[in-house]
Symmetry: C2
């Protein structure tokens, strides 16, 4: 546990479990890596849970321990920001299945004394939420003031009131969806096949050799990364510009297979740097959880059914250039919330940056979330 | 040479060359695999050249020699079709760089007696067109009645009047673009990295071992294949439906990593079957040619400049659900043709099937092309 205020509190807990999973399996013990910022007030009513995306982690507003980069949502969380440690007790926990301190395929399986690998149970978004609820029990928090998330974090945020209707007062869902489409699944399947095609994957049993399937994971990341950006954003950022050559010479066609274009070099870098910080098996497990996500299916095929038992207020935000989870997916959520009689604010924001817009500077997004969190109970 | 009329004439020629390439290298000899249908008339004025796409080949209206499947454009070419062997002398040649009989990385390098592998020169779309022109010289055809192509075939069709202004009378460009965008390049780079990450690729030197990088090529194909289909088309075709289980049992989540969803199974099949019929190095070379394609750049940055010297008529067709080469790319071509004072017909057709629509049943497309080819000189 670090107590450097710049980093919030870096925490880890081993809960006895068992955690009953959607697959029928159960997990025990349950490791959770998490961070907190601010102080829980006396009646434990100021807790805000931040849910992270596929490749995110608990380092929401503190430097990443491997890359040294600032937290992934310092634009939203911090002094004077919409989610402020001066007012909120902020919790962000690594999802189960991941690789930053929570139980996942790299965790030691108590039954064998070896890393789980592919023996780790397949998990769902709802299982991630159940693990978060166990953490809240441990922290003495019965009810969240709010749960907030973008992308996969938004799916967890949606799953919260559906799974624990009385434990959350407000829900913020950004750039997300109530279920994965065929195209979403297709992209993830490409990534999984890229990992599994890498001979170093060895059926998931690569931890002892300390030689992970980095090449396969890099390809998976490259394919996924394109879906996080808009076509217009890519054109604006890179167009057909060539990479400068060594010595600063202006770039041109090499008539070879080096990264001639800036966009090629950028993607290669994205792939390689991701491999340095992420576990390939975790990528398999978390993409599977995403593809399995279909909140309506969990409620008899009616999305509105997911929201019938909660009194939570909702805020749904989409970005007009997001083609991974386009605005129509947010509208589907909003219609279901309306059908369930819930209070919901919805806004589509304009951005050229595609899906990743929720992670970038967006004063409008900050205003929307600040306003939503300050009103209501 | 087969003379079975169902198959057209399967032909192969070795031309002495040299073929001067955009890279500055030259190719000699130049192997060309091609097919012809119909008969060249006396004044050699009824020749129609069909240009194929990235993974296409010369078997445009005859059964594929490996897969046994019908030719890839039997909907467009054949008796009673818009391009009809009763009226036209139809030629379709395998592009150089490919693997179906024309010079490519799998061809024997006369300098070494071994397959070229990555010693094959990097080629461009214009180089493909130059090789086609050499074939026409060999066949005694000075001028094409028309050149017709979709996707990469459309780029060759565009490149024809730009490279040989007096050798073509009519140009049909379907579902194509005058240059590859940053997003187009990005997807191809994912595919190339997937191939090169496969240890069986061995720097392109895998022919002797007869153990090609099929897994990497399959991943490349899967990633690309998604871009050929629309999101709506994928949803209509697969949605979130599960794969039926062995014994016909209705499918469900397996909580494992098998292909649970139909879309996963479909993509895996696409990847594997492609590996059986295509050479990984050819995929590298042809995607490179596509990414290098920028017709304006070849003409001082002005696309209209590409069309200043030709008298050819143009027909440009796009599909509204094509997000690989969207309608706006066709409009860019049309504007340049207008600026150059060329005669151009342009139509955007409606289809739910995305980029691949040009290969599917489309009575409207057939009507447009039939009408265009029947009018004018």
């Amino acid at each position: 546990m670090s107590s450097d205020p710049r980093f919030g509190l870096r925490r880890h807990v081993t809960l006895p479990g068992p955690l009953a999973l959607d697959s029928g399996a159960s997990l025990s013990p349950v490791e959770i890596g998490y961070e907190t910022y601010g102080t829980l007030n006396e009646d434990a009513s100021n807790a805000v849970l931040i849910c992270h995306a596929l490749t995110g982690d608990q380092h929401v507003a503190s430097d990443h321990p491997i890359t040294g980069k600032p937290g992934w949502w310092t634009r939203m969380i911090g002094p004077g920001k919409p989610i402020d440690p001066a007012r909120h007790f902020i919790i962000c926990s690594n999802v189960i299945g991941s690789c930053m301190g929570s139980s996942g395929p790299a965790t030691i399986d108590p039954a064998t004394g070896e890393p789980f690998g592919m023996a780790f149970p397949v998990i769902t978004i709802r299982d991630m939420v159940r693990a978060q609820a166990m953490l809240l029990d441990h922290l003495g928090i019965r009810r969240l003031q709010a749960v907030v998330g973008g992308s996969m974090g938004g799916m967890q945020a949606l799953s919260w009131p559906a799974t624990f209707p009385t434990r959350v007062g407000a829900v913020v869902v950004i750039a997300s969806t109530s279920r994965h489409s065929a195209q979403n699944i297709a992209y993830h399947e490409v990534g999984r096949q890229a990992i599994m095609a890498d001979p170093k994957w060895r059926g998931g049993d690569y931890y002892a050799a300390n030689d992970p399937p980095s090449a396969g994971l890099a390809v998976a990341r490259m394919a996924a990364h394109i879906t996080y950006l808009s076509e217009a954003g890519l054109t604006e950022k890179f167009g057909r510009r060539f990479q400068a050559r060594e010595g600063g010479e202006a770039g041109a066609k090499s008539f070879g297979f080096d990264a001639d274009f800036q966009v090629e070099s950028y993607l290669r870098h994205q792939g390689l740097s991701f491999s340095d910080r992420f576990d390939a098996n975790s990528y398999l497990y978390i993409t599977r959880a995403l593809d399995y996500f279909d909140l309506a299916e969990e409620h008899g095929g009616m999305l509105a059914g997911a929201f019938r038992d909660t009194q939570a207020r909702f805020c749904v935000v989409s970005f007009d250039s997001d083609w991974l989870y386009p605005t129509r997916e947010s509208r589907t959520i909003v219609k279901a919330l309306n059908a369930a009689g819930r209070h919901v604010s919805f806004v589509e924001l304009s951005s050229p940056f595609g899906h990743d817009a929720f992670l970038l500077d967006s004063p409008e997004l900050n205003r929307v979330i600040d306003g939503f969190l300050r009103t209501g109970g």
